[in-house]
């Protein structure tokens, strides 16, 4: 995936400052296949 140059600089200079994490998932599920 291509990212903007600024974003790449942020990842290189500020590890941990530019991250994404799932925090909560409410996943709908259907029963057995």
């Amino acid at each position: 995936m291509r990212l903007t140059a600024l974003s790449l600089v942020m990842f290189l200079l500020l590890p941990g400052a530019a991250g994404a994490q799932l925090q909560e998932v409410r996943q709908t599920i259907f029963g057995m296949d």
Binding site: L8, A18, Q21, E24, V25, Q27, G31
Partner: protein, 131 residues
């Protein structure tokens, strides 16, 4: 299924209600878990994951002309689109580009092994607190 999802590194808790047809999964801070990884574990146990409601924290970037929420290292976690009931949120996302935000929204069902980015239909948005 609960045990299988719990074993994924970065999962904090899993509660499954088969009567309501929903699994509520909470994740640890700084985890690297993807929604597709969770859905794979669900499929591996004979269930079919449908749509999901998620809350995710990340950085809004421009990815080839599309807004996206990215993970450390630059992998795109979600492509961002406005929820049909919150179209105004797209303008807010544009203004928050390259900032750390928390996004809530709906992720439709995806085909197994789909290669296109997973779309998060954003419904609510806030700036993340300082880490």
């Amino acid at each position: 299924m609960r045990v299988a999802v719990s074993k994924i590194n970065g999962i904090d808790s899993v509660a499954v209600s088969l009567n309501r047809g929903v699994a509520v999964i909470r994740l640890k801070p700084e985890n690297r878990v993807t929604l597709e990884r969770v859905r794979e574990a669900i499929r591996a146990n004979g269930f079919t994951p449908k749509e999901a409601e998620v809350r995710a924290r990340g950085t809004v970037v421009d990815d080839s002309g599309h807004l996206a929420l990215v993970m450390p290292g630059g992998d795109v976690a979600f492509r961002l689109a406005p929820d049909s009931h919150a179209l105004g949120i797209f303008g807010e996302l544009q203004h928050l580009r390259d900032q750390d935000v928390t996004v809530e929204g709906r992720v439709p069902e995806t085909a197994r092994g789909a290669r296109e980015p997973v779309v998060l239909q954003a419904r609510a948005l806030s700036k993340s607190p300082t880490r």
